[in-house]
Structures are given as structure tokens and as C-alpha cells.
Amino acid sequence: MGSIIDGSLWYFSLTVFVIGVVWNLVRIVFGKRKADFSIPRDSAVAGALRTLISRFIPDRHMLPRISLQVVAGYMFHLGLFVLLFFAAPHVRFLDEHILGFGWSPAPHWLFIVSAQFAFLGLIMLWLHRVINVVSRLISDRGDHIAAILTFVVMLTGCLALLETFNELRLLHRLSVELWLIYFPFSRLMHAFTFVPSRMFTGAWFGRRGVGS
């Protein structure tokens, strides 16, 4: 079992992830689009880049009504980012198994604090999803699976923090592999597709000279 998780299943999941993500992005970025015959008022490229950045910042007037999603969302995403790419065991893993080079990891306390942010953020986001009538209405099975799977990955990672029990490490890795396989077929793709989506919309607004 351990050898499958560390070996073939790992390579399989990584292959599915990479090919799936690239295929999805290729279809989106290079897919056939209708030409727009109208004369632009302003630059589409500038609009695309502007929107790509500007949507990180929520609208000032909206903020009081969506503060929970914004705060929890930022906590989760920033926490996950730091913990994913700057936790010492992850940096070591990326160095040894994938990239062949590493970078200096975050100190242990930062790793843990970012994990705590990520946990609290994810729990609150998921609860908001099931509690708020709007998000409950529009959420489907895929949203819940994605959230729970991500939670499981984080939880198994957290349980394996002592880095001594091989079974716990395997459990974490197995959940990561399932997550990777699920990724390209699911809502998790938003981690990549938010870029083309924002740029499409930004380019559209840009052509029309709207500051979006």
C-alpha cells in the first residue's frame, strides 16, 4: 500500500493533474472565439491586466455586506498559500521530488499560524456555504466535495506534523493524490482559471473604456 501511494499512484495523480490543468487551460485560452467587430474605445490588454489585479480588492461599499466571505476567504487562501509553498516539509518535498531546487522555508511558527488561518478560513467559508441561503442555493455537490477534500488534505497534514509516523505521512500523501486527481475536473480549477476569467472580463471592459 505504501509503495503504491509513494510510487505509482503519486505519478498517476501528478500526471492527471498536470495534463488535466494544461488541457483545460489550453481549451480556454486557445479555444475559438468570435471576433469582435466593434471599434474599441480603449485598450483591451490594459483592461485585462487591470482587472486581473483589481479583483483582489473588494469594492469598498460592498465590503460590509460580504465581510465574512472576504475575511475568511483571504485567511484561507493566504494561509494555504504560505503553508503550501513555505512550510519546511513541503519545501523539502518539492526540492527532493519535483523541482530539484528549494528555497528558504518559513519559520515553524509561521507555518503553523498560516495553517491556523487556513483552517479557520476554510471552516467558516464552508459553514457560510451551508448556512447562507444564497450560497446554499447555488452550491452543488462539487463545491462541497472540493471543500471537504481540501479540508481532509489539510487535516491529514496537520495530524502528520510530528513527521515520524509513516502511516500518517502516507495518509496525507494519499489525500493529496486524491485531491490532485480531482483537481482538473472540479471547482478547484478556479485556482488557475481565475486568471483567464478575469482577463476575459477585463479585456471586455477595457475595450469599452470601463475602469473595472
Binding site: 472565439r33 482587472t51 461599499h61 460592498m62 450560497s135 447555488i138 471547482r187 480549477m189 481565475f194 478575469r198
Partner: protein
Amino acid sequence: MSESLERGLNKLRSQIDPQVRSFFSTCVHCGICAETCLFFTETRDPRYTPIYKTEPLRKLWRQEYTFWGKLAGKLGITDPLTEQDLADWETLVYDGCSMCGRCSMVCPLGIDISKIIFKVKTGLATAGYSPKDLAETTQRAVDIGSPMGVKIGALQAQIKHIEDDINLKIPIDVEQADYMALLSSMEIMYFPEYISALAQIFNHAGVSWTLCSEAFEATNSGLQIGNTEVAGVLVERIVAGAEKLKVKNVISPECGHAYTAIRWEGPNFIGRPYSFKVVHILELLDELQQSGRLKLAGMETERLTFHDPCSIVRRGGIDSEPRNLLRSFTENFVEMTEHGTMNWCCGGGGGVNSNERAEPVKLQAFNRKKSQLDELDVETIVTSCSNCRLVIEEGLEANDMDINIVGLTEMLAEHLVDGTAH
């Protein structure tokens, strides 16, 4: 499966392009768009959540374009898009969305929700699921040339009136004019002041312009109902008129969706670029003002605000022009808290105002504008869309609010120094 449903589904399928794919696979269903939508904020009915209104197209996409949908199809577990779905979403999309595009401005993932909603509309319209009133106006627009049934005779009568009034000749069918002005039926019927304002301003600034007897109607019911073929036919008429008169520019009137239809979507509806340019009246006025061709006198002293028509400002980029113009002849211009590209819609765009059935929802949605106005305590609202103007007038009346509403162009015309600038 009925034939019309099949047609509708095919139409929807044809709408799924890389953008739609990107949008649907990006949406994480956070629900933030709900709080941007005045139909949701004023009714608290979660079904008015913008992204929920795109559900028919999403369902089709899921079913036919995603791994899980295809897998379920192979296994024989399908959840196809049914007539009932289309019927349910007809009321949501036509009555509960003014296509204002506020959601598209706020979505953190950058999804242009209102664009997808339009795509849903095209599918619904093709399948025959559209409000009776809108279908009728569309038919009128195709048959008579105006959604309100205004014929050239009516326009000529109105023009005669105006000419007598202001002592100016209104040019009709003048070939090789610089500008060909379009009008919306509403302006002809309810707000002829706009036509006289145009005549006065252009006379003052020495602009060579004309109306076209074969193509004076700017509105496009095809766009409102989501029938791209009809939209194309209506645009084609304007293009034919403009090409026949060999004008350099076509002026889109103070009407929101007309601007979108003729300026932005028109070339795509007919599938080719224009041989002329399209400008919005505010763009032209601002240009005249900047180049010093408008001599204005007197300042409006009352406290007034500007209502941004969604199609012109948020979806059209004409944001600074009305403000520049207003500041040149008003002293007491105040902005609503959320203005410009983040303005709240009047609630009657996207065909909602032409849809009798949507009346109660529209009035409820107007509460948003009402609370914005209550905050400001203004005497006058200036706007630049005859549809907004009608909806706001109606809303003000229903709420017993004593506020004037005027079009920007006519207000500007009142401040012209007598005589021509040249």
C-alpha cells in the same frame, strides 16, 4: 422533446465558448454577486442571485462539456435541461434581471455574469420562453420599425411641432452629413425635448447632422429579448440608412440599451464592421464642449445628482463625459454614494420596463434607488437614458417623492448662449 426546446438547447449550446467555459469552471459559488444585485438586495429572494440566473446554461455545460456530466451521461444518469427549467428561469431572467452588469464588476473571480445571463436569454427566446409583452414589442419593431409602433408619420408630426416651437429646421435625409442622429421611440413619444435640444445644440455648434426617415429608431428589442437574429435585422436597417445617406457618424441617443445595441453589439449581430463610426450623444457633446464649440451661460443652482444609466456608464465606459458636462453648467452637483461604474440600476433595464408582468418586482427593486436618493436630498436627477427616466419617474411617483428628472442633453440645451457660436 419539442422542436422549440431543441432549438433553444442548440442555441444555448452555440453560446458555450471558451469564455463561458472559463467562467463556469471558475465560479466557486461564493454568493458575493447576490449582494450586488438590486433584485436580491431589495427582495432577499436568493433565486435572484445573478449566477443562479445562469443556471440553465450551466446545467447544459455541466451535462455536455464536463467530465462528470459526460460520465453521468455514459452511466445513464442524466439531469437534462427541461421545459420546466426554461419556464422557471424565464421569470427569473426576464423579470428579475435588468442586465445592469453590477455583478460583473464585483465578482472576485472576474466572471462576466451579465454576459452569461444574456446568453441564457438568447436560448430562452429561441425556445419561445420569453414574456408576452417583450415578444409583442419585438414583433412590432420588426414589422413597424419601432417597438412602440411609432411610424415615420408620427415622427414627422412631432418634428413639425418642434420646428414651430424652436424656429429651427430639423434636417431629414440629408446626404453626406457628418452625423446621423438616432432616436428612441420613447423620446419621440414622451420626451420630444430631446429632439429640440439636439437641433438647438447642433445649430449652435454648427454640426452638420440629419435624421434618416428610414432608420430613426435606435432601440433594439432583439437585444432586450435576446433574439440575436431580430437584433441583427434591426441593426441592419440603421446600417442601410447610414450607408444610403453616406454619413460619417451615427449618434446613439440618450438610451442605454440602444447604445449597447448599435455601438458595441451591432457589428457582431450583423457579422461585419461598420463603414461609419458610432458615438453616444454624450461623447459628442463632451467633445464639442472640450473643443470650445459650446458657449454656455448661467449655472443651475439647485441641488442635483446624476443617475448613471448602466448600459452607457458601467457597460459603455461613458463615465467622465456626463460629469464634465454637468460641472460646466451646474453649481450644486452631488454624487450618490455608489456612482459611476458602481451605480445602482433604476431596476427597469434589460427589457424589465417593457414587461408588464415584472411591474411589482421592478417597483420593489426601485427601493434601492429610493434609498440612494433619500440619502442625498436632491431637487433634480439628471440622467441620459429615456428608459431610466421613465422608470425613475414611475418610481418617484409610486413613492410620493418630489424630485424632478431631466435628460442631460435638454438641460444642456437650456444653457446655450443664444445664437450660433460661429
